[in-house]
């Protein structure tokens, strides 16, 4: 293909001009405001966002009890989006719960801050893979119990809470500090499992330090939401 050198030059000039135009502007403003680790996190479009108030909710647990986020004011709250049929979350020995990573996390959280609250939330729609929400609740509680834990699993079959937070995957973690602000959104651990982002965040909050990283890339099955009404 023959190149049109005028358009090539125009293309390069456009980019160079943008850089040149930006340079004096930056010099005048000083470096970008990146010192505050919470500055500029922009998750608003997808629901909850760092350094902003966590959406309130009231949900019924698989145990039949009612759970209200407002009741945990003053405590660090970990929300973990969960699904019993997702192989990254609750199903199988390689999953977050089946592999022992979830149990290690819950234990680590308790050690870091005994008052912290760990809640699993299941936003799977009624009838996914032929399972009713009641069966999903039973299976979810059984998976948690099998892992030797007793944290509640809150059922959100209409997906309103999941959508309010912007939960995309199972697992997907949101951590809320005692003031009710979101301080962490992302994966529970690094891919190799060596870094536990949840425990690190709870430890930082307990120590009054900023949470770093405040966001990581969440991975897992897509949340199987019910259609919006």
């Amino acid at each position: 293909m023959r190149m049109n050198y005028r358009t090539l030059a125009a293309s390069l000039l456009a980019c160079t001009a943008l850089l040149l135009a930006a340079a004096p502007q930056d010099a005048a403003k000083g470096p970008p405001p990146t010192h505050d680790p919470h500055a500029g996190h922009d998750h608003k479009a997808s629901g909850a966002s760092i350094a902003h108030a966590a959406p309130e909710f009231t949900l019924t647990g698989a145990d039949g009890k009612t759970y209200n986020l407002a009741d945990y004011k003053g405590k660090t709250v970990i929300l973990e989006w969960f699904c019993s049929t997702c192989p990254a979350s609750g199903q199988g020995e390689d999953s977050y719960w089946g592999s022992g990573r979830a149990s290690a996390t819950v234990a680590g959280v308790k050690a870091a801050d005994p008052t912290a609250v760990y809640l699993s939330i299941d936003s799977t729609k009624d009838g996914h893979q032929g399972k009713s929400t009641a069966t999903e609740a039973t299976d979810s509680a059984a998976i948690v119990a099998k892992a030797g834990q007793s944290n509640p699993v809150l059922m959100d079959a209409d997906g309103k809470v999941g959508r309010a937070y912007g939960a995309k995957t199972t697992p997907h973690i949101f951590i809320i500090d005692g003031t009710g602000n979101v301080v962490y959104i992302g994966a529970p651990t690094s891919d190799d499992g060596k870094t536990n982002y949840i425990v690190n965040a709870v430890t930082a909050v307990k120590a009054g330090k900023p949470v770093e990283p405040a966001t990581t890339k969440n991975k897992g099955c897509g949340v199987k939401y019910a259609p919006k009404k």
């Binding site: 005028r6 293309s11 199903q91 199988g92 099955c221 897509g222 939401y225």
Partner: protein, 285 residues
Amino acid sequence: MISFTPILSAVYGACASLALALPSEFAQPVSVAIVPHLVRIDAGGDAVIVRFSIDPGWHLFWTNPGESGVAPSVKLVLPEGWTAAQPSFPRPQVFETGGERNFGYETSLDLIVPVKRSPLSKSSSDAASDSIAVSASVSWMACKSSCVMGKSELALTVATTTAPLPPPKVTRAYPTKFPKGFAACIENGSPHVLVVTAPVALLAAKDARFIPHPVAGVEFRGGTGPFTFTQTGDLITMRAPLQLHPGDAVEGPMRICGLLLVGDRESSPVYEIDLAPLDGPVSAP
């Protein structure tokens, strides 16, 4: 001429992945095998090819799976004197279902793992032989209406004499550097903006798509997109605002990376964008 077909069939059958314990509703929809010879790659050098076969309706994921999913992982173990680079993923397909956007592959996927024999290696007899023992730990997530995990431990003697790649079920393009006329740069500010330009003679706005790589500490405001390409005069331009969060950069230095997809076929061109936040403009040499 030697026909590789029966050999390949036998080898593929022998090292096809074992299905894991799966939910009773699903058989493992993915099988994986190592191609039994090295392949010469366009970038220069040789590569081990790890080939996935995917049942109809299922898909695997690109390095950025999109709003959900997990990319396949390949870890090669080679004889002393040989080294392997990171796998190269081909141009992904874009799946948009139920308001969710994902990037991945249907039908088949070849991951290219560049390998190199060290010229300094003297001790290993393998280094000079016409074949090497290759082991691979491979894992993946495959999804349809639900998802399953899979993993496989492969071991194969691979011929070091290169041969053409056995034809894949789907021919996919692999990322290359920008051709002449294309340019990308970072416009510093708050937010920073990734700017990609190309002459209209080379790129039609409707045929262009940008998808970002997930890099810790780099947050594209448009998420997984779509990002808009607009025409002004003779230029097509995309502007993608992004935020940098140094505190979140847990994987090393922040890079602004992604793919520019041109056209809509798996074999259509795909160009790699990889800039440091303070890089100058990048264009064809």
